[in-house]
């Protein structure tokens, strides 16, 4: 079962986690107090650039019957939609630019170029997802209700179609998100999910807002713009659909790289119940994953390549994440915590692997939710002895005691490396666990091999014995036959 006690999992004491929290608070305050004209210029320029690129793309598509124009226009429109979605819509709605006090660039007024309304998205994303990040049954972004992304969730036969569901989700991402957000808002408002189709069926505020927005968006891209381009309507329609598709795929990939590669941990409600501010920070750190990106790719991902930093400080301006990431990494070193990152391709492949693996029933999988690549728990360290830590006496011990008891008992003996004096936390524990687990496995294999050899040996002796017996028996029978 996913992490129920983040202290035990992280191999940090409550005091450590608290001081980690204070250091993160300081990072936040430093950024906040240094915000100024340069940052404001950054977002205003981004907005202007996005609008110019979009206008240029739309204009080019008037000539979209020509192949070059179609390609150029589609490319420009895709880029514009991606910037609008990630660096503008996502980040402004997070309140990252509210500090400017600009009514037009503010979380309360910004509306984005996506099927769903910004308001519903904010309720589902800013609140549910960012508050309950990666907590089973509380964070609906964990698989978006259609994918099984951790083996903490029970397998159902429907999960077999996961590979196909994944493709649909990727291609129609904005619709998936819109419906997801709609149902999240209904749930928050206590409205039953039931049908959401118009007209009279179920008229409620969230449904109305959803259809109004979706209608406007669809009309713009699939009716009005094509109609405006006259004879080029067909190619314009195709271009608009393609740009939406490209934006969807990109957004999907970025989001999936943020929480589903190996190392992005999942948590239980037990962990959440009595969570301190420091533990909240730690959960965000351990639940998120980055991917390596240069300035251009960082920009195109809305700086969500810095997902860890974003989850720690969702409302700090995105252009500051690169500098924040340097400090966060320093903290990871100091507290010996893992900092999950890798190339975009690698991170996506890890998520992709999980999607396909978890389509299968658990019996076919080797690992459990305590030590799987996509989710583990403090029990991962049970039953193995790590060089820098005292032995954890197995799950029987855990069954009778809580992990924090164990911690309380053992804390004084570890945390600092006796030789180097450095803090030993989760990162060392993970590495050592990996080695220890491998050794354990090797050892078990060895034992098995030996047992097998013994058995084989035994079998061989027995066979020999039998043959001998049989030979003797043969001799006897022959003798008897002859005598008879």
């Amino acid at each position: 079962m996913a992490i129920t006690d983040i202290k035990a999992f992280a191999h940090l004491s409550a005091a450590d986690i608290e001081s980690l929290g204070h250091e993160l608070d300081t990072i936040r305050r430093d950024v906040e107090s240094s915000l100024g004209a340069k940052d404001a210029k950054y977002i205003r320029r981004t907005i202007a650039a996005q609008r110019i690129i979009e206008a240029a793309g739309r204009a080019t598509l008037f000539a979209s019957k020509k192949r070059w124009a179609w390609l150029t226009g589609t490319a420009l429109l895709s880029v514009a939609k991606i910037i609008e979605n990630m660096e503008l819509g996502h980040n402004i709605s997070h309140g990252q630019w509210d500090w400017m006090n600009d009514p037009e660039i503010h979380s309360t007024t910004w509306e984005w170029d996506m099927t769903g309304t910004s308001g519903q998205w904010k309720a589902a994303h800013n609140y549910s997802h960012h508050m309950y990040t990666n907590i089973l049954d509380m964070d609906d972004d964990l698989g978006f209700g259609i994918l099984r992304m951790t083996r903490d969730e029970e397998w159902k036969p429907i999960n077999l179609v996961q590979p196909v569901a994944n493709l649909f989700l990727a291609a129609l991402f904005e619709w998936g998100i819109a419906l997801h957000d709609l149902s999240a808002q209904k749930e928050q408002m206590g409205i039953p999910p039931t049908s959401f189709f118009p007209p009279r069926h179920v008229v409620n505020e969230p449904n109305k807002a959803f259809w109004r927005k979706a209608g406007k968006q669809a009309a713009k891209d699939f009716v009005i713009y094509p109609a405006l381009t006259g004879p080029a309507w067909k190619s314009t329609l195709k271009a608009n659909a393609t740009a939406n598709l490209i934006r969807n795929l990109w957004a999907y990939a970025v989001i999936f790289c943020g929480h589903f590669p190996d190392g992005a941990e999942k948590f239980t409600e037990e962990q959440f119940e009595n969570e301190t501010q420091g533990e909240w920070y730690l959960r965000q750190m351990l639940g998120s994953a980055n991917f390596k990106a240069g300035p251009a790719m960082g920009f195109m991902s809305g700086n969500l390549s810095y997902q860890i930093e974003h989850h720690l400080f969702p409302d700090l301006p995105s252009n500051r994440y690169p500098e924040v990431s340097v400090k966060v990494r320093e903290l990871c070193d100091k507290y010996d915590l893992p900092y999950t990152t890798g190339s975009l391709g690698k991170q996506y492949l890890l998520a992709f692997r999980t999607i396909h693996k978890l389509a299968l029933p658990d019996q076919w999988l080797k690992r459990t939710s305590d030590d799987a690549p996509e989710t583990s728990s403090e029990r991962k360290f049970a039953g193995i002895s790590l060089p820098s830590m005292p032995t954890w006496n197995g799950s029987e011990w855990l069954a009778e005691h809580s992990a924090s008891d164990w911690l309380a008992e053992h804390q004084p003996h570890w945390g600092l490396d006796p030789e180097t004096g450095e803090r030993r936390g989760l990162r060392s524990a993970m590495q050592e666990a990996k080695v220890a687990l491998k050794e354990k496995a090797a050892h078990e294999k060895q034992v098995l091999r030996e047992a097998k050899a013994t058995l084989q040996e035994k079998a061989r002796t027995e066979t020999a014995l039998l043959t001998e017996k049989a030979q003797r028996g043969g001799w006897l029978s022959r003798k008897l036959r002859r005598n008879g």
Partner: protein, 387 residues
Amino acid sequence: MASKSGGFSVRGLREWLEAPVAEGGTAGRTPLDTLRGAAARITTPLLPDDYAHLINPLWSARELRGRIVEVRKETADAATLVIKPGWGFDFKFQPGQYIGIGVLVDGRWHWRSYSLTCPPDWSGDPQHKGKRLISIAVKAMPEGFLSSHIVSGVPAGTIVRLAAPQGGFVLPDPAPDKVLFVTAGSGITPVMAMLRTLDRRDTVPDVLHIHSARTPDDIMFGEELRELHERRPGFTAHLHLTGEQGKFALADLDEVCPDWRAREVWACGPLPMLDEIEKHWAAAGLADKLHVERFEIERNATAEGGTVTFAKAGRSAEVDGATTLLQAGEGAGVRMPFGCRMGICQTCVVTLTEGHTRDLRNGKEHRAGDKIQTCISVAAGDCTVEV
């Protein structure tokens, strides 16, 4: 197009076309609304304004904007700003009202309110060649970060944000026959709009204006007052220099203005002066003849806690400096919007319309015009939020 055919009307069509701009913009109507509304169908979810203002910042009615076209020194520490408003500004305000103005300083918009000093719709003035302009006067306050910034360094050409004119300190039309203005310092600014309006309407009744300033150099619009005094027989300007004569004593009123009891009075100036005037008029049983305007006092928010007023709900609560506004509102039975309660989701954001609050996370102070997160904000003195 037929004006009406089978439930279809030009008006209905126009309303349909204008619908997106009606819901998207906060500024008033513009003559271009039908066009903007039609264009909004292709710029959705944005307004055409969002593209237009990239070319000219004034081409937007999403929010009221203006461009400072002239900065005129009035005294050593006061200046008049002449502003050309953008789309959607309603020039039909009343003399005496004030506007909100947002100025960009170091990446952040700062909002303050200042009285309009111009008469409504003065485009007819030959002096302004038909341009639709407004003016405000700003006096630098010793503690006033923004007023000093404006007076000492905002260049012409600067784009500012505007909030629609408001306020009940206004001169009715027609004006009463007998008027008394009592002002001091920058309290003269709303009265200046009233005087100019009367002058423009060519109907200056019997007006006496008592104005106090420290020295002759501190008198804002001194030249204009003198000129008006000479040109308009009905208008008398009585200047009182506090540097030489001390504070204007209301006991002297009978001498300066023997018929003050018969006059409708507008008074604007520092708080102690207004308090005194209010007492004086109340004692004379003439409270209903008196109109006062209290300029918001600059306060630094070292204050902890205070009375929080929830404007829309019509409730208020006394709080200390540790209770968040969200808790305070809930305690007072106000339906407060909230999500995470820890400052990350922005669900609880409301506008602070009066007073100061402090952000618990970084200690930063917010003031009227700012949008604040109630879940991490506490009152720094009395304040009002729009919820």
